[in-house]
Symmetry: C2
């Protein structure tokens, strides 16, 4: 902010992506007193309407959802909160547009957690673009708290670490039909195996997360292995996201697991189970540290979908204040709670 | 370190206090490759002996336990690890001696977690002394991880906090006869009540801890209330620290609770139960966050005694690198694991 009279005012924010996550983010931004100065969407059903309507709030925000991102960004903002897609390949141009316009970016895009090895060219080009324009691109979300900083903090009590094992479980029904379809929910096991053998299976955020963790601990990756295991229904289960009943033996989810070994010795493993829940199940987070001493950390009830939005919004002041560049999660400071309004 | 050839060498450490905690710290320091350059004790049974013997290690360290702290400190060191007593009143002179000799201090002394309101004069005088001598005094221990930084990190996922409630349990038998006697272990309930009404009951580290937490969150204390509740045996329990069997109805521990309200609204409560354990019980740590969303964090098995030592040792590089002064826990950065040797 060049203008000193702006210094103590709440940040000017663009909501970039007005799907389910963008809607929750909008409500949290308004609670925090952020000045929403633009909203970008692509669905014809949303473009042209007030952001408050689109986000399902009971009030108008006075900001119209627009489809021309360039036009919205050209009017200026401190930061864009980008909730659009999950991989850097599809997100690169959206991010680049923000950075070119001198607008910081905080995003739930999972690959940006640690993009240096899975999308090195895109990551380096975005890093350079951010630096040239003096702004920052950083990812946050539930992973920032539950799969990264809680663990690095817990390890502050470790004398010696042999192995760190994380297991988390999230509800596929929280993320709509695209995610459920991507996971092959409802397909028979054979169809899933066939799909994986034909198309491969993209590494999930478990990989980026562990790489960020290892980097923060000043350790050096030796080897990374990822695999996927289908989770099959042992009774018929309703998938709300797809509006189907999954039959016994068909997929209700997958376990995406990554194991990272380091040159220095410690091994890191993270299993992320995305599954259609039965009534009464909660998102969970469990970590075990094998070493001296053995340690554990459990979150019995983690609403990942909501905390992805709340963690993202809490990061806004941090990202605005951060040095320019693409900052992977290991390069960001510790997250924190911001009480009241910005 | 003025001498640049010293820059990459492991820190020169003085073990100040060679009781049970100092013994564990000594072993961890040696594992981490620290250069132990002095050891200070007061018991005639320990003074004059090799630190390795005194610490119960199976090797000599080549450092003799000395009783004249001034003489040891005068030979110079980067940091003193001070494990002697629990309140600033008794610890002030030990700390002052270190600081006067230009030696940084990291300590398990609990009041130094946040000494500004319970011992303001001593805290300010030590802060000034540290600044004049260009060194740092900071407390660490299990509280640094489990009652402070894990919580501030978890709250990074909170949109709005109403109340934060911590409950932890530690084993009185882990800390020797002085602590057990101080807690009135084995006394009938009437004797405990009588003792409290005559002598009062000192606020435990729960208070300092919550004050540090509130300060880190940029909130303002409105009111602080502490109370103590005896925990009574409902069956005979052996107290190893005192070598006695506690009878039914007599004290096996206390619950020290502090509640801090803030001007901004959030309320913080921490109950610390120090109790003689039955076979098979573990130290535990549980936190609940009431707000949007509700969150929780559980450590089912926390060896507090050991993690107090390991957290302290992990903090050594942080304290050496920190700016001069007495830094309360809220003023220190996030703790971290240091793999291998310093």
């Amino acid at each position: 902010m060049a203008n000193p009279t702006e210094a103590n005012k709440p940040p000017r924010v663009i909501v970039y992506g007005v799907g389910a996550m963008g809607a929750t983010v909008t409500r949290l931004l308004l609670d925090k007193g952020a000045r929403i100065v633009g909203a970008i969407g692509r669905s014809p059903a949303k473009v042209g309407r007030d952001l408050g309507d689109v986000a399902g709030l009971d009030r108008q925000v006075g900001v119209t959802v627009e489809s021309d991102a360039r036009q919205v960004l050209a009017r200026g903002a401190d930061i864009a909160v980008v909730c659009v897609g999950s991989y850097l390949e599809t997100m690169h141009d959206h991010f680049a547009l923000c950075l070119e316009h001198g607008v910081n970016v905080v995003t739930i895009e999972e690959e940006a957690v640690y993009p240096w090895t899975t999308a090195p060219d895109l990551a380096q080009s975005l890093d350079a673009l951010a630096r040239v324009n003096g702004v920052t691109l950083a990812a946050s979300g539930a992973q920032d708290i539950f799969w990264m900083n809680l663990i690095t903090t817990l390890l502050g009590a470790s004398h010696h670490v042999d192995k760190v094992i994380g297991q988390c479980c999230w509800n596929v029904d929280d993320y709509g039909p695209e995610v459920a379809t991507h996971l092959n929910i409802g397909q028979p096991r054979e169809a899933f195996d066939q799909y994986v053998s034909e198309h491969g299976w993209p590494e999930f955020v478990a990989r980026q997360n562990l790489e960020a963790l290892v980097s923060r601990l000043n350790l050096t990756v030796q080897d990374i292995r990822s695999d996927v295991t289908p989770v099959l229904a042992n009774e018929p289960v309703i998938c709300r996201a797809l509006g189907i009943e999954v039959q016994i033996g068909s997929l209700i989810g997958t376990i995406d697991r990554t194991v990272v070994t380091t040159q220095e010795g410690p091994v890191f493993e993270l299993s992320m189970e995305g599954r259609v829940y039965r009534e009464g199940e909660n998102d969970t987070n469990r970590w075990q540290v094998q070493g001296e001493p053995n340690l554990d950390l459990i979150n019995e009830s983690v609403p990942y979908r909501f905390t992805t939005c709340s963690s993202l919004v809490n990061r806004i002041p941090d990202v605005i204040a951060a040095p320019p560049g693409l900052l992977s999660l290991d390069q960001m400071g510790t997250p924190s709670y911001k009480h009241g309004t910005f």
